[in-house]
Amino acid sequence: MIRFGKYVWVGLVSLAGFAACTNSKMPAPEPEPFTVTAPANLGTSVPAPERNPFTREGVLLGRKLFYDPILSGNNKISCATCHLPEKAFSDGLALSTNGASGQALHRSAPPLQNLAWHKGWFWDGGAKDIESLNFGPIKHADEMAQNLTELVKELQNHSEYPRLFKAAFRTDTISTALLTRALAQFERTLISANSRYDKYVRNEGGKLSSQELEGLSLFRQKCASCHATDFFTDHDYHNNGLDNTYSEAHEALAWGRGRISEKPEDIGKYKTPTLRNIALTAPYMHDGRFKTLEEVLDHYRSGVKVSATLDARLQQNGKTGIEMTEEEKTRIIQFLQTLTDPEFTSNPDFSAPR
């Protein structure tokens, strides 16, 4: 049973709607709407598109689909193959070879957390909503390699899914749009906001050591202009100096955001990743090139490469990168460890249904 204990969910069963229908035959039961809420430091309300509001049945269906390898062409790969809850829904790999073809992917599987607030999805923001994004990994030959027409047939002939779609969407005629809406509803509930840092900042009894507090202070000076707010991302795109040449190979994949926007000023930019659960989501960057947080901070200290689109914040006062001493680096990493949220990674609402 799913509990959604953390969230206030409000049964908004529309009394007005039923009252107006007393003469008509009772239809299939309504899916139960509820409001997913977030803690105050994330702004309380959770965005969801009007066309796909949360329902209890929709989220439960989405969770079942997320963990079901039926979504893949060979029925062996689920979303959770590369998005493991214990790693904040990342996979611990730089470039996974766990897809249907065994070919290495071109980008690292990102963690899935607080996705509802993003403004674009994928590392380059190419997906304009989560519903559209889901088709990417399902169809891609190197990921789940599924034919959507086949998938709809399989789900339609399944012993449980037609009933579950009916409960969630009032129709047992399964379509790709309903499939992805259910997945997106579940994915939007994956909210991490109960780390020790959160409990400290919300005065809920979380304690940070003096070293961690020192790290927090350094973080705010040196990192928080991009890793901003308690989302620890500005949801924007930046070139952080990983490279200074941008190949046109693979249809200019290395252009990052520039490939999507088709603007030269966006070449080499990627979405600022959140730092929540960062201790669990190694390796780092869009291609997983850094194995440890030490390597990441060393990059910002001394590895930043200059090119036309390098972010101005990484080249101030004639200096490239972010100045920090070895001790400051250690403190920042100590602070970053406080962003780990065990309630998120072990939340039974988010784990595979039994």
Binding site: P49, R51, T55, N134, L148
Partner: protein
């Protein structure tokens, strides 16, 4: 537009229990309606039909053939002589010239009785629908090859074929044109032909419109496209070519004739 809004309300309200009232809605009794069948005939030219996988010379004198040619026609409107219009609701039609299960024909239903003198339609998908590929309206979820997943949106015109690498060469190479993105959305307006400048549409009069789509015009028309230099629309430099092709497909349609019926 009104009808599009209506659909989104239905989706929204389905979570609120109001959908159960659908049966209570009363259709306006006074509206009399007709219909019109619209056929898009893929052509080599005004005088020559199009054959799949057959080589033809295009406007740049390149020998090219198409194995696939499909496109979205959307937001169809019929215009009355006084300029007022009827807009087809949920108007998204996948038209396929070759090698797909989609059709070249659709029927516009529930057209209010009257006299019409122009058709207006769009090639592609409007920005509102193009910002998500998970809304099943019209033909939008009919063919999943017509979406981009890494860069959300629909392919407006999808053409796959071969071209001769050089005039004297025997080597044919592949080209793939997936043209889309909001900037390539085009409006086409065609006045009814001089033989039938207006058409009456009502319960007794259900005309059939026969349009020509001169599909090789994607290489010609206002802009001549050299397919040898531009064979893959997914390459970054194609972003300057795509609008030129869009200007070409905006002008590739003609009304051949209208059967009054």
């Amino acid at each position: 537009m009104k009808n599009k809004l209506r659909l989104s309300y239905l989706i929204l309200l389905s979570g609120l229990g109001l959908l159960s009232c659908k049966k209570d809605k009363v259709k306006p009794a006074e509206a009399k309606q007709g219909s019109m069948e619209v056929h898009f005939d893929s052509r080599r030219s005004l005088t020559e039909d199009f054959v799949v996988n057959k080589n033809y010379l295009n406007a740049n004198n390149d020998s090219v053939s198409f194995s696939t040619f499909k496109y979205f026609i959307s937001n169809v409107e019929l215009v009355r002589p006084d300029g007022t219009t009827f807009a087809e609701p949920n108007s998204y039609h996948l038209i396929a010239a070759a090698n797909t299960p989609a059709s070249e024909t659709f029927t516009i239903a529930n057209i209010p009785d009257g006299n019409y003198s122009k058709i207006r339609f769009r090639v592609g998908v409007d920005q509102a629908r193009n910002s998500s590929t998970a809304t099943p309206v019209g033909d939008l979820d009919k063919d999943h090859d017509m979406t981009w997943d890494w860069n959300t949106g629909y392919t407006f015109v999808f053409a796959i074929g071969k071209f001769k690498s050089a005039p004297a060469s025997a080597t044919f190479l592949d080209f793939t044109y997936q043209i889309g993105k909001d900037a390539q959305y085009r409006t086409v307006e065609l006045a009814f032909p001089s033989e039938t400048p207006t058409a009456q549409i009502d319960e007794m009069h259900k005309p059939k419109m026969h349009l020509h789509a001169n599909i090789f015009d994607i290489f010609g028309g206002p802009n001549v496209i050299d397919v040898k230099a531009n064979s893959n629309s997914n390459l970054p430099q194609f972003s300057t070519v795509a609008p030129k092709i869009a200007d070409n497909y905006a002008q590739m349609f003609r009304i051949d004739h209208i059967h009054a019926h």
